[in-house]
C-alpha cells in the first residue's frame, strides 16, 4: 500500500540533499506529491510505495537525518453529509481520486489524491476540505 508522509525540514536541513540520500540508501520508490520548501525550511509531502518494513525503515532513516516525519492518513476530506453529489468535482480531478460510482454517488479514493486542490474551491457546497499542514 502507498503511504503518505509529510517531511518537515528545519532551517538548517533545508539545503541538504536528504531525499536523494534516503532514496539511494533504501532503494524505495518515493514520489513527491507536494513541496513547499525554501531557505527557511518547509515541508514535502511524499508517497512511499513499498512493503511495510521498508516504509518503516525509510521513515526512521528520515528521522535519523533530523527531519520531522508525520504520516498523513487523511489530507483531503469529503463531507458526505454536506455533499450533494453534483459531480462538479469529478471531471476536474487529474488522477481519478474523485469519481462517480455506478449509482452516481461520489467517491474519494484518498490514495490517488495528489493534493492539487483544484476540486476544493469548485465544490458548490464546500464539502471538500484539504487538511492544512
Amino acid at each position: 500500500m502507498t503511504r503518505k508522509v509529510l517531511l518537515r525540514y528545519s532551517r538548517d536541513k533545508a539545503e541538504e540533499p536528504i531525499l536523494a540520500s534516503v532514496i539511494r540508501q533504501t532503494d524505495v520508490p518515493i514520489n513527491i506529491l507536494h513541496a513547499d520548501l525554501g531557505a527557511k525550511g518547509g515541508e514535502i509531502l511524499i508517497a512511499i510505495d513499498a512493503p511495510e518494513d521498508k516504509v518503516e525503515k525509510t521513515i526512521s532513516l528520515f528521522r535519523e537525518l533530523g527531519i520531522g516525519v508525520e504520516e498523513i492518513k487523511k489530507a483531503i476530506e469529503l463531507d458526505k453529509d454536506a455533499c450533494i453529489e453534483c459531480g462538479a468535482c469529478v471531471s476536474l480531478c487529474p488522477t481519478g481520486a474523485l469519481s462517480l460510482t455506478k449509482d452516481y454517488s461520489v467517491e474519494l479514493v484518498e490514495d490517488k489524491c495528489v493534493y492539487c486542490e483544484i476540486c476544493v474551491p469548485s465544490c458548490p457546497v464546500r464539502a471538500l476540505k484539504l487538511r492544512k499542514f
Binding site: I84, A88, L100, S122, P124, V125
Partner: protein, 475 residues
C-alpha cells in the same frame, strides 16, 4: 418506463403505467423567495433591506421583500448569497435583518435591525421565475486558460465537459407537448408540495428548452432539497429539487415519457468563445454524458454532471411513494403552457457593427496565373496592400500582399501562383467586427478577405477600416 415502452410499445405501456414520476436537482439561479416581516412599532416602509448582508428587493409594499438566489452578500462575496439565506431560512436558523427607509407620516421609522427565523415570518414563499429547464447545453472550453462559468470550472484545451439536467428523469422532457404539465400542476418542490403557476421566463418549447415558474411554501421545505451554492468565480445560486408526476393519459404521452437517455440529445458548446451564440463542438446524447466520458477531437474527455443524478432519482422515488400513500394528489392543469414561444435575443440600442457594414466591396482581384508584374502594377496604382486571388467562379484561392510582391520581384519569381498564400484567414459578412479585430491581432495581419459559405469573395476588411470605425465610435 423506458424499458416498458421499448419492450412492449407505447400502446401497452399506456395501458399498464398510470404515472411516471420525474425529478431534477440542480442549480436554479432564477429562484427566490417572497418574505413578509410583519410591521414594527413604530412602523417602517422598508426602502432597502438586507438579510445576513444579502440585499433583498423591497420595491413593493412596506414589509414585503424578495430575496433572489443569485444576490451576493455585501460582506462575504461569493461565499454567501441569496441561495444560502434561503437554505438558512429553511433550516430554521436565525437571520439578521437590517432595513432602512426615508420615513413617511404613516411609516415614520427610518431604520431597523432585528433577527428572525422562519417562524417569525408571516409568509416565506419560494417563487421562481424559471426552473427545471427541459434540457440544457453542455459546456467545454477550447481556449488555453481555465475559465470559470455558470457551467462550472472548464479546464483548457477541452480538458473537461460539464452538463446540467437529468435527461430521462427531466420533468419537462417527459411531457414535451405539455399535455399534463401546465398552470396549476401540483409538483414536488424543495421537499414539499407546490405548484407550477406559469411558463418560465425564456420558455422555448419549440427548441426543447421549455421552463416553468414554480411556487411552494418555503417554511415546509426540507434542506436536503434546498441548498445554497457557490459557483467558483462566477456567483451564488440555489440547488433546488423539483419533481413532477406525469400521468400517462394516452399513447402519445407514453411515447414521450418512454424516450431514453440514448435518444435525448443536446449540444456541447465552446464556452471558450464569449459570444451569445457559442460554437457547437459536437452533438451528444445524455447517455454519453452520463457515462462520465465523451469523445472530443479523438480524446476521451471527463464529464461532470452539475446537477445530481442520484438526488434526481431520489426525488422521483419520494414523489412515487407520496402518490402511492395517497399523500400527493395529481392535479389537472387549469391552463396549458404555450407550445410555440420563441426566446428572443436582447434588443440593443445600437447593434455591434458587422463585417458587412464596414467592409470594402470594390475589391481588385487577380487570377493565380497572372504575372507578378501586373499584380505589382495594380497594387501600386490603387494603393492597396492586399490582392485576393480568385478562380473563375470568384472563389478565393489565396492572397498576395504588397510585401509578397516586393520579395517576389527581388527573387525573380514570375507567376502569382508561385507566391500566393493559400492558407488565408478570412471573415464572414455576419461576423461582428470585434471578432475580426481579434483575428488580425492574433495572426498579426493587417487585413482579411470576406467570403461567404462557398468561399466566394465578397469584400475586404483591413485594419484601416477598423481604425476608421473606432474613430467614429469614439466621436
Amino acid at each position: 418506463m423506458v424499458e416498458i415502452v421499448r419492450e412492449r410499445g407505447e400502446i401497452e405501456a399506456a395501458k399498464e403505467v398510470d404515472v411516471v414520476t420525474t425529478g431534477t436537482f440542480g442549480a436554479m439561479c432564477s429562484s427566490g423567495a417572497w418574505l413578509n416581516f410583519g410591521h414594527s412599532d413604530p412602523p417602517i416602509k422598508m426602502q432597502r433591506v438586507w438579510l445576513n448582508d444579502v440585499e433583498a428587493y423591497t420595491g413593493v409594499a412596506a414589509v414585503d421583500a424578495y430575496i433572489g438566489a443569485a444576490q451576493l452578500s455585501e460582506t462575504r462575496g461569493l461565499e454567501y448569497g441569496g441561495g444560502h439565506v434561503i437554505e438558512d431560512i429553511v433550516r430554521g436558523k436565525e437571520i439578521e435583518v437590517r432595513a432602512t427607509a426615508y420615513g413617511t407620516d404613516c411609516y415614520p421609522r427610518r431604520e431597523i435591525e432585528t433577527t428572525i427565523t422562519k417562524d417569525d415570518l408571516n409568509q416565506a414563499v419560494l417563487c421562481n421565475p424559471r426552473n427545471a429547464y427541459q434540457k440544457y447545453d453542455a459546456a467545454t472550453n477550447s481556449g488555453d486558460e481555465t475559465i470559470y462559468t455558470y457551467m462550472g470550472t472548464l479546464l483548457p484545451n477541452f480538458g473537461n465537459v460539464t452538463f446540467s439536467g437529468s435527461g430521462v428523469l427531466s420533468p419537462l422532457n417527459n411531457d414535451p407537448n405539455y399535455e399534463t404539465i401546465g398552470v396549476g400542476t401540483r409538483i414536488f418542490i424543495g421537499g414539499t408540495q407546490g405548484y407550477i403557476f406559469w411558463e418560465g421566463t425564456q420558455h422555448a418549447p419549440t427548441k426543447g428548452f421549455g421552463t416553468i415558474m414554480t411556487v411552494g411554501d418555503l417554511k415546509k421545505m426540507n434542506p436536503r432539497y434546498v441548498r445554497g451554492a457557490t459557483i467558483e468565480k462566477y456567483g451564488v445560486s440555489l440547488y433546488l429539487g423539483i419533481g413532477i408526476p406525469i400521468p400517462i393519459l394516452n399513447e402519445r404521452i407514453a411515447k414521450t415519457a418512454g424516450v431514453g437517455d440514448e435518444n435525448i440529445t443536446t449540444n456541447i458548446l465552446d464556452y471558450g468563445v464569449p459570444r451569445r451564440d457559442r460554437p457547437i463542438v459536437r452533438k451528444v446524447t445524455y447517455a454519453e454524458l452520463k457515462s462520465g466520458k465523451v469523445e472530443i477531437n479523438g480524446a476521451e474527455t471527463p464529464v461532470s454532471p452539475l446537477s445530481s443524478i442520484k438526488r434526481a432519482r431520489e426525488i422521483a422515488t419520494v414523489l412515487k411513494e407520496w402518490i402511492e400513500r395517497g399523500e400527493f394528489l395529481l392535479s389537472q392543469p387549469v391552463e396549458r403552457l404555450p407550445r410555440d414561444r420563441e426566446f428572443k435575443p436582447m434588443k440593443q440600442p445600437f447593434a455591434v457593427p458587422l463585417v458587412r457594414d464596414i467592409m470594402t466591396r470594390e475589391v481588385v482581384t487577380a487570377r493565380a496565373d497572372s504575372s507578378v508584374e501586373s499584380a505589382a502594377k495594380i497594387l501600386a496604382e490603387k494603393g492597396f496592400d492586399h490582392l485576393p486571388i480568385v478562380d473563375e467562379e470568384n472563389k478565393l484561392v489565396g492572397i498576395v500582399t504588397s510585401w509578397d510582391i516586393a520579395v517576389a520581384v527581388g527573387k525573380g519569381k514570375k507567376k502569382l501562383s508561385d507566391i500566393l498564400t493559400s492558407k488565408v484567414v478570412t471573415a464572414s459578412e455576419d461576423e461582428p467586427v470585434d471578432s475580426v479585430a481579434r483575428k488580425l491581432e492574433k495572426h498579426k495581419i493587417s487585413g482579411v478577405p470576406v467570403v461567404d459559405s462557398k468561399k466566394k469573395l465578397k469584400g475586404m476588411l483591413t485594419s484601416e477600416d477598423l481604425s476608421k470605425l473606432i474613430g467614429r465610435r469614439r466621436r
